[in-house]
Amino acid sequence: MSEEEITGRSAREDILGRLKEIPKTVVEPRPDMPPLRELSLDREQMITTFIEKLTLEEGIVYRVQDGREAIARLTEIVVGEGLQKVMVSTDDVVASLDLPAWGKEQGIAVLTPRDSGDRDSFRDAVFDEVEAGITGADYAVAESGTLVIVHDADQPRLISLAPIMHIALVSVERIVPTYERAIEELYGDTKNIPSHVTFITGPSMTADIKGKPFKGMHGPRRLMVILIG
């Protein structure tokens, strides 16, 4: 295949040419839509709604006062589940808790992506070695109990996906009523758009066999959220 064929430049001209030949039609102005109810909630109401909605999707939400309590909660989870090895991201929320040091105290192996030199060894770790992924989240959206995670060098995509359990930490400061509030901040400055953003609302799920719903199809079977503040 030539470069021309691979990029489909001539196809592009054909397709756009045909589309542009057609005279423009008048489009009706958009109808008004009343603002979403969540926009009138105060912070505590947003938090309550977030917890309610995510719980409905079988996410488990713990609310704690501060970082110290977050660590205590994390310890309880790790002990309760008998976890031996976890992968943690290095984003701001998690980094501030110094989980590698906590891991040493607790006697569990805490890996970070930096321990893996490259994609392949990182994949080996998240697919086969660790029992849970611990990450921060950038926003918590009240309207549907949704976590928004912005991926970058400190927040790889697979930590919140490949291990069978995902534990996410998010500050109540980061609660927003609707998706748009998070999106405006993330995509408002077109010079600096993140390469990948994920919305997570509950564990991975399916109902593809006989319509029987269950969690943990390809992604985590369990999602726990520690809401700080």
């Binding site: 990182f122 996906l161 919305f199």
Partner: protein, 489 residues
Amino acid sequence: MEIRTTLFNEIAEKEIRNPYARAFLKAMPAAIAARRKTVMGSFPDPDAAQACGQAIRAEVVAWLPELLEEFEKNALARGAKILWARDAGEANEMVLAIAKERNVTYVTKGKSMVTEEIGLNDALAESGIEPFETDLGEFIAQQLKRPPFHIVGPAINVPVEEVCDLFMEKAGMEKPTTDPVELGYAARLFLRDKFHHVALGVTGVNMAVAETGTIINLENEGNIRFNKSSPRTQVSIMSLEKVVPTMEDAMHLTRLLSRNCTGQAISAYVSMDSGPKKPGEIDGPEELFIIIVDNGRSEIYADSVAREALRCIRCGGCLNICPVYAKIGGYPYGWAYSGPMGQVLTPLLLGLDRTQDLYRACTLCGSCREVCPAGVDHPSMFLYYRSKDVEEDRGLRGKKRPWKESRFFDLWSRAVTHSALWNLGFRLARPLVNRYSHSGVITRMGGYFEGWFRTRNLPAIAKETFHERWKRLRRETAPGGQNGRKGKP
């Protein structure tokens, strides 16, 4: 995928007797439709929210070339590679070229209707590259070589025993089971290994945002996220009309798509790519290819009525509400798109001549139009296709009906629009028609009209029609035996 649209009636008759399919069709679509209704209630004004989605899609259709150019410009600026394919063959060649250049032996795939449309799996397999569908239902449908039964649950009708046999044979499952959850985990284990080592992931696209050059996927299982996170190379394939103007529009459509598709407020995962991974990121694609597939759409665009089909966002809301789909399921539609959505799209993509039963298998009840978040007017589209078919429209590849049928309808339309002809026709037809009458009801008639009576009866034509009686009474009651004209105001 084999195209079987000309076998609509044949397959429908078979499927209507399939007990497994019937069990699901009785429960599932109605359950999703009910959930949809509940969750639509989270909007302060559900109708307004729906109307807003429809308006966004109307804009997309009106400004399609401009939005595509803007999307391309912004996606390129983020580092994505944009490829344009005129048809299925070109699109498949592009994926093959990318795969071969990188020496991959297999690819993993997220569920994507457009890749079914272009037959990508067959093209890959023929070139010795094994495609693995990774959506659970799609994986089962692919392994069984069946078309999707439902857009959301492509294999939801397949009996567990059959899934069990399949997984024992093809997915390395060791112990037989008929528990859907255990079967699901067997597929998880099998596909997890594929995700772990995959070099090339293929996905569809739910929305391509012009303003930012971002592509968005909605899913529940996490398989699409794996396809966008694990491999070095990501190929995302979209048909022209997937573009939307802004991120804000995409968020509103995300709400509507989730609600109309599965009755969820939002699907478990929504993932958004703006270009490939940035330097320093350890996972995510080093190269992101976005293939924009035309496959006949730019020609459809010239037809101002047919163009409206491009509003469709493939939520499947229309399947769950359709009384015809609820009886026959997805197989009779014979291709990638089933239900009213398929009846609208397939005739345009394959031609009216090969899909004649699709746009006729409709009672025009309009339930699909009522739930459509994109504003597709299905019944009007079907009437349009029927007329274009009869007219032998060249662009849409209409095929004339049998000459006897067209002759009959020519006469019929003349008769019903001219009262003198109609009355005369009635008088002439009465003795012929009433020969079949038993106690005033005609239950069957031989010859050309046989089919009409399969599900209907016709009352015999009265000895004296209302019209005739009216005339007679007027004559008899008019003073001085004059005709009734005097009584007329």
